[in-house]
């Protein structure tokens, strides 16, 4: 009974702190800017506009794929989410070094709070996507509901990477540069601006490997569920149903490893920052 109460109060603390940190982050995010929250919509829209003009309008990517513009926007929004979660996660612990050195509170809350802030942003962005879906005349089916478990998957993946990076960054400050490069390369290694069918046409084997990346897998799956059921996914590229589970397995393994590593390291954050 006593133990139960103790566990409960421990989680209460985390939840109280988590709530407050997310609220604070939300309040602070666009403080002092004239357009405020509009920026969280404008940023992905601006990127989308550039990509649309360059790749769809001039380079004719996407050719006869139905609603490719919506698929592009969806890809940009999801990729931006992953970038935001991981880059914020990277500096979550070091950035709050002052707090770490002077207060004892559950360390992981800081990282989780960053992920939730990004999730709120993603939600706002998805409303814009819905607007485009309506304008573009995409017919939504019940399969669109798959978006929820898929967002859960990318949330867990982002959180896992954030945990790993935040703990590593305390020890190795090079991580921030390395991760910047990884994200830059990732933007092209994940089918965001180009349809995966272009890769399939040239190097089918490469396309198969690319889709084992959980980020690519979720983006393609979301596109298939929401925009066009003909979008190539892991399920359509591989016949073996077990191989389809690889991206999910990667996510789970990464999450467990990251959680264990973070837990081990977090005891000495206060001393090492």
């Amino acid at each position: 009974m006593n133990l139960l109460k103790k566990t409960q109060s421990k989680y209460n603390y985390s939840i109280i702190l988590l709530k407050q940190l997310v609220i604070t982050d939300f309040k602070l995010r666009y403080k002092g800017s004239v357009l405020g929250y509009v920026w969280s919509l404008l940023r992905p829209l601006a990127l989308f506009a550039v990509l649309y003009v360059v790749f769809i309008h001039f380079l004719k990517f996407g050719g006869d794929i139905p609603h490719y513009a919506v698929a592009l926007l969806l890809g940009v929004v999801l990729w931006n989410y992953f970038v935001e979660v991981t880059s914020q996660g990277l500096s979550a612990i070091v950035g709050k070094g002052d707090l770490m050195r002077k207060l004892s509170f559950p360390r992981y809350v800081v990282v989780v709070a960053g992920s939730f802030s990004a999730l709120i942003n993603l939600t706002i962005n998805l409303f814009v996507v819905i607007l485009f879906i309506i304008i573009n005349g995409v017919v939504l089916t019940w399969s669109a509901l798959w978006i929820f478990p898929l967002i859960v998957e990318i949330f867990i993946l982002g959180l896992a990477v954030a945990f790993l990076l935040s703990a590593l960054y305390v020890k190795f400050r090079d991580i921030s540069y390395i991760w910047e490069l990884v994200l830059q390369a990732g933007f092209y290694a994940v089918p965001i601006v180009y349809p995966i069918s272009m890769v399939i046409a040239v190097y089918p084997a490469a396309a198969k490997i690319m889709l084992l990346n959980p980020v690519a897998q979720t983006i393609q799956d979301v596109r298939a569920a929401v925009v066009w059921s003909g979008t190539p996914t892991v399920a359509t590229l591989y016949d073996n149903p077990y191989i389809r589970l690889i991206p999910i397995a990667i996510t789970i393994v990464l999450a467990v490893a990251a959680a264990l590593y973070f837990r081990k390291q977090s005891a000495s954050f206060a001393e090492e920052i």
Partner: protein
């Protein structure tokens, strides 16, 4: 002893810090020389085998010099650091006041900061709501609560931080680290009143301070930490005395090198200097014994001493000329012995002794500032001279 009566128990706590002489902070180092032996790692033992127990309702002090390991111990009790060995058990909720206003954000309003700071200490929105008015009242800044913190004066920020901490901290154990020296005099008095109230309410408080007067006033028991270990745990008076002793070796004997600031032409030099007692507990006389060597024939000389307190204020002093003792035609190789006897009339504190050897026309042979030091600890008012011929007649009538 019943376990429920213990608020905090520190058991055989060790803390080591590994200090690499050159920290491997980049992957390049790691990859460039993967097999190279890393730079030497020095292990610093910040705490060695610390054990004590704090009872519920006790006002417990922790004192120690800078670098004694006191702050590390504090962070371990606050569970910010993990002990390398041993354990700390806290019975109930502990709120640390290690630093005020940690996590305050200048871009948020005073009100928002109260909730944020509260959450960092684990208080829910509801709990803070209930105490919000009390916090604002205590800080005396009601009008400014909806302004951004960056527009506050630093005094206002400190007051707000202190109020949040004090009002929210109706926890089982409070950890207070020298935060008293904040705010203006009026607010300081208020804080002291608050600590007195805490004492009355029977709260368990751990109080870390350099200020022996505050320690004497509030603490039931005190632990003295020095050189990473517990020296003594006892009553405030007893520990305060031990604390003062730390600043003085048992018989302070200045050998000639090292200490203090020294200059002069070296025609005559001090070759030894002894002060006894180096710790005045009763109204002993203070004896300053010096030996001097004449290195070169000189026409005349005079010798003096001065005693100053820790704040560099001169307390008293004298010289041979003043005492009508003349030193003339000193020859090379002569040895002069001088013994000053001075009444030990100083109040509690630490004092430094300057000595001088010079010619009557102010040619400096050997000036030596802070050549040695001594301490007074007998429960008198610090910094004040207690003249032997002072007298107090008191009468009471009904």
């Amino acid at each position: 002893m019943n376990n429920d009566e213990i608020a905090v128990s520190v058991k055989n706590v060790y803390k080591d810090f590994k200090l690499p002489h050159e920290k491997v902070n980049s992957l390049k180092d790691l990859f460039a020389h993967p097999f190279k032996k890393r730079k030497k790692v020095e292990t610093q033992h910040a705490l060695k085998d610390i054990s004590f127990e704090i009872k519920k309702g006790e006002f417990f002090g922790i004192v120690g010099r800078n670098g004694s390991g006191k702050s590390t111990l504090l962070k371990i009790i606050a569970q910010i650091y993990q002990p390398s060995k041993g354990s700390v058990a806290v019975n109930g909720r502990l709120v640390p006041f290690i630093e005020l206003g940690v996590g305050f954000n200048p871009e948020l309003t005073g009100r928002e900061n109260v909730y944020l700071n509260g959450a960092l200490m684990g208080f829910s929105h509801k709990e803070i709501n209930a105490k919000y008015d009390a916090i604002v009242d205590f800080a005396e800044i009601t009008r400014f609560m909806d302004q951004k913190l960056k527009n506050y004066s630093s005094g206002m920020q400190v007051r707000l931080a202190f109020s949040v901490a004090t009002v929210l901290a109706d926890s089982d154990v409070l950890l207070i680290d020298e935060v008293l020296a904040v705010g203006d005099a009026e607010f300081q008095r208020k804080c002291f009143r608050y600590f007195k109230a805490l004492k009355k309410q029977g709260k368990t408080v751990i109080f870390v301070s350099h200020d022996m007067n505050a320690i004497r006033e509030y603490c039931d028991r005190v632990a003295l930490i020095d050189e990473s270990a517990v020296v003594i745990v006892g009553t405030a008076n007893k520990v305060a005395r031990e604390y003062d002793k730390l600043f003085v070796a048992p018989e302070e004997k200045s050998t000639i090198k090292g200490q203090g600031n020294r200059w002069g032409n070296k025609d005559i030099t001090y070759s030894s200097l002894t002060i006894s007692p180096s710790l005045i507990i009763d109204t002993d006389d203070l004896v300053i014994k010096t030996k001097l060597k004449v290195n070169k024939d000189v026409k005349d000389a005079m010798f003096g001493f001065a005693v100053k307190n820790g704040a560099d204020v001169l307390m008293y002093g004298n010289n041979s000329k003043n005492e009508k003792i003349k030193f003339e035609d000193l020859k090379k190789g002569e040895v002069i012995e001088l013994e000053w006897t001075v009444p030990g009339i100083l109040g509690d504190g630490e004092y430094f002794v300057n000595v001088s050897a010079e010619s009557t026309n102010s040619e400096g042979y050997d000036w030596w500032d802070e050549a040695t030091k001594f301490a007074v600890t007998r429960g008198t008012i610090p910094g004040m001279v207690v003249y032997p011929n002072m007298k107090l007649d008191a009468k009471r009538e009904k």
